[in-house]
């Protein structure tokens, strides 16, 4: 939200003016419109500079005469702007200096007022405009910083690329931390330098094909320490000006995710193997045991060689016991470490 300066009566204003008559006039006008204004006064650049160097008191506005004893004109304006930071400056000048005053506006001065035309209302209006403009400017600046932070403070590594040659123009903190390159090193690199040579064509195709649905694929990125990671890349073209486009890349390190996936795949295979064993190996002796029991029942105790069949039951039961033990062993040895 724009905070229009509301306590206008309590403004803190610095007047830099070497002509005492002019100063008294301006001070009168100011106090007429801003009853409780706090007014500082300096007559030359040197004292003003010292004041700023030793004092970080908040000033709301500066009224500046273009002709001071040791410094005047554009040089004065430039020097004042240098030490003032973003405090609005309004120039007080005579008819003869209008051209100079207009030039000052281009340098960043907010407004200029002709001394001979000055009156309380005009002064008040100019001050109001200057203060409002300043609060708009700082609002825009804040938003610019906010948007920059979205890039710089994002937990996902992000890079800003020049469209065309894919030179890296900026890298956020997460990218600097993930890849190990300093910002200055990034700025000397092309995005393609992060890829092994065999992926370069693929990446370029992906970026410039602009196929909407397939703008994410898995690639390899080489870190500064020459380790490699698997990344999923997201590209977004952003217009910087009418002619110029940049590309924002977001890179998600999915190395861990792929490893976990691999673990799951290898565990699934083991589970399948166990299921297969259950189905084939366990059921073999079990089916035999049941078959023999059927046979004994059918014969209703008249079976020859009953001892032979009982022995077979024992053999098959032991066999099954062995198999079940082995399955339990296999399940326990479920290797959570996929490197093996």
């Amino acid at each position: 939200m724009v905070k229009i300066v509301d306590n206008l009566e309590h403004l803190s204003i610095l007047i830099i003016e070497d002509n005492i008559g002019d100063f008294i006039l301006v001070e009168d006008y100011l106090l007429e419109k801003f009853k409780y204004a706090h007014i500082e006064h300096f007559v030359d650049f040197e004292n003003t500079k010292t004041f700023f160097e030793n004092n970080n008191k908040n000033l709301d506005l500066i009224l500046l005469d273009l002709h001071l004893p040791s410094l005047s004109g554009i040089e004065l304006v430039k020097n004042i702007l240098k030490i003032m930071g973003n405090i609005p400056i309004i120039i007080l000048t005579g008819y003869s200096d209008i051209a100079l005053a207009e030039k000052s506006i281009q340098l960043g001065v907010y407004d200029f007022l002709i001394k001979d035309e000055l009156n309380p209302n005009l002064l008040q209006k100019s001050i109001h405009f200057a203060l409002n403009r300043k609060s708009f400017i700082s609002q825009i600046e804040n938003e610019r910083i906010k948007f920059e932070n979205l890039f710089h403070l994002s937990p996902q590594p992000m890079l800003l690329l020049n469209y065309g040659d894919l030179k890296i123009l900026d890298a956020n903190y997460a990218a600097i931390e993930k890849y190990g390159f300093k910002l200055a090193e990034f700025l000397n690199m092309s995005f393609l330098d992060l890829h092994p040579t065999n992926e370069e064509t693929m990446v370029t195709n992906l970026i410039f094909e602009k196929t909407q649905d397939e703008n994410s694929k898995i690639f390899t990125h080489i870190l500064k320490n020459t380790n490699t990671i698997h990344v999923e890349l997201y590209f977004k073209e952003v217009a910087v000006s009418k002619e110029k486009n940049n590309i924002i890349v977001q890179s998600n390190d999915i190395t861990q995710r792929l490893k976990h996936l691999q673990t799951i795949v290898s565990q699934n295979k083991k589970l399948k193997d166990i299921a297969w064993t259950q189905s084939h190996v366990v059921r073999a002796p079990l089916a035999r045991i049941l078959g023999i029991i059927n046979l004994i029942e059918e014969e209703k105790g008249n079976l020859e060689n009953l001892l032979f069949w009982l022995e077979q039951l024992k053999v098959s039961s032991n066999e099954m016991d062995e198999i079940v033990r082995k399955i339990i062993e296999d399940t326990r040895n479920f290797d959570l470490n996929i490197e093996s």
């Binding site: 297969w276 189905s279 084939h280 059921r283 073999a284 035999r288 078959g291 023999i292 059927n294």
Partner: protein, 129 residues
């Protein structure tokens, strides 16, 4: 028409159990034993399947040439078209992939999971009636 039976299974005890059941129902029907697919196909080749009914009781999981080998060999030789040859699968496997695979051989009379009961044996033997 006479019938002959081949039990193709590498589990000798199980084969013995089945043969006992058959023998109880039809003491005079000849029973041959085979423990792998290759031996079984050779035995089948030497039998007079135009004069006699041949009942095949086939296990799937065997060492060396398994039941699939036997089934594929039969198809190569065109034996699946001979009406006197009756093929039954008796397997201990309950694996769904095995069952799906068995269903692809549409000429198989029936498949059963072990263990089999005397009523199953009766059903096999009555296939020729």
């Amino acid at each position: 028409m006479k019938k002959e039976i081949i039990i193709i299974d590498d589990d000798p005890i199980y084969s013995l159990v089945v043969s006992k059941m058959i023998h109880k129902l039809e003491p005079n029907t000849p029973i041959h034993f085979s423990t792998n697919g290759l031996d079984a196909i050779q035995k089948l080749e030497n039998m007079s399947f135009f004069r006699n009914h041949i009942l095949l009781l086939l296990d799937i999981n065997m060492e060396h040439q398994d039941g699939w080998y036997f089934l594929d060999s039969m198809q190569t030789k065109g034996y699946q078209l001979i009406p006197n040859i009756h093929t039954f699968i008796i397997t201990s496997s309950t694996d769904t992939s095995d069952i799906k695979k068995i269903e692809k051989y549409s000429w198989i009379k029936k498949y059963l999971h072990k263990p089999i009961y005397i009523k199953d044996v009766m059903e096999f033997l009555s296939v020729t009636e």
